[in-house]
C-alpha cells in the first residue's frame, strides 16, 4: 500500500512570503499525485494533479508543484502567499489495485497567513 508523508503540521507565514509545503510518497509503480486544499468551512477541492509529462505542474490560484522522482517528492509552491491562502493542504497519491483506484492522503499541513 502507498503512503504519503507531509513534513509540516502547521506553517505560519506573512503575506507576500514564499511558500513550499513538502510531500513525499512511497513508491508504488505508476505515480499519480494530487494536492487538495480545504479553506475554512469549505469542502476539499483539487488544487492540481500530476500523472505524466512536465514534472512542473501548475494549478489554480497561482500554485504549482514539482514532481522529483529521485526524491519521491511532490512539493507544493507559491511565490507569494495571500491571506486568502489560509487553509489546510493535503497531498495525495493514487493507488490502483483490485479493479479500483484509491486516493491515499497525507495528514495535511495547516497554513496560516498573517496579513
Amino acid at each position: 500500500a502507498q503512503s504519503v508523508s507531509q513534513h509540516n503540521h502547521h506553517v505560519i507565514l506573512s503575506e507576500a512570503a514564499s511558500l513550499e509545503l513538502g510531500c513525499n510518497y512511497s513508491y508504488g509503480g505508476t505515480v499519480n499525485l494530487f494536492w487538495y486544499v480545504q479553506y475554512p468551512g469549505q469542502h476539499l477541492q483539487l488544487l492540481l494533479k500530476y500523472f505524466s509529462g512536465d514534472p512542473l505542474v501548475k494549478g489554480i490560484k497561482g500554485f504549482e508543484a514539482e514532481f522529483i522522482k529521485s526524491k519521491f517528492s511532490f512539493n507544493l509552491r507559491k511565490p507569494s502567499v495571500q491571506w486568502s491562502d489560509t487553509a489546510e493542504y493535503f497531498c495525495a497519491s493514487l493507488y490502483s489495485g483490485a479493479g479500483s483506484y484509491q486516493l491515499t492522503f497525507g495528514k495535511g499541513t495547516k497554513l496560516s497567513v498573517i496579513p
Binding site: K49, G99, L103, F105
Partner: protein, 119 residues
C-alpha cells in the same frame, strides 16, 4: 452544477448508539466514496461504489459499519454501535467513473462532511 450533498452536518451521540449519514452525489456520477477523517489526519477511504455495487470496502470496519447505495444514486453510511474512536468527519465524494482519476474531467468532488462526536 450542484455539488455533493451530505446530511446531517453535525451529530452528537453516546457510545453504543447508532447513527446514519446520507449522501447525494453530483448528478450523473457513477462512483461514490465514503471517507473518514479523524482530527489531525487526512481522509481515509472506507468504501467505494460503482453505481450500486461495492468496488472496495477493504478498509471498512464491517463489524460496526455498513453502507449501501441501493439505486445507484444516494448512499447511506451507518455505524452500529458507535465507539468513542469513531468521532471524526465523514466525507462523501463522487466522480464520473471509477476509471483512472487522472483522466480529464474525472475529478473526485467532495461534500461538506458530517462531523460526528461520540460521547
Amino acid at each position: 452544477e450542484a455539488g455533493v450533498a451530505q446530511s446531517p452536518r453535525y451529530k452528537i451521540i453516546e457510545k453504543r448508539q447508532s447513527v446514519a449519514f446520507w449522501c447525494n452525489p453530483i448528478s450523473g456520477h457513477a462512483t461514490l466514496y465514503w471517507y473518514q477523517q479523524i482530527l489531525g489526519q487526512g481522509p481515509k477511504l472506507l468504501i467505494q461504489f460503482q453505481n450500486n455495487g461495492v468496488v472496495d470496502d477493504s478498509q471498512l470496519p464491517k463489524d460496526r459499519f455498513s453502507a449501501e447505495r441501493l439505486k445507484g444514486v444516494d448512499s447511506t453510511l451507518k455505524i452500529q454501535p458507535a465507539k468513542l474512536e469513531d468521532s471524526a468527519v465523514y466525507l462523501c465524494a463522487s466522480s464520473l467513473t471509477l476509471l483512472n482519476l487522472m483522466l480529464a474531467n474525472n475529478e473526485q468532488f467532495f461534500g461538506p462532511g458530517t462531523r460526528l462526536t461520540v460521547l
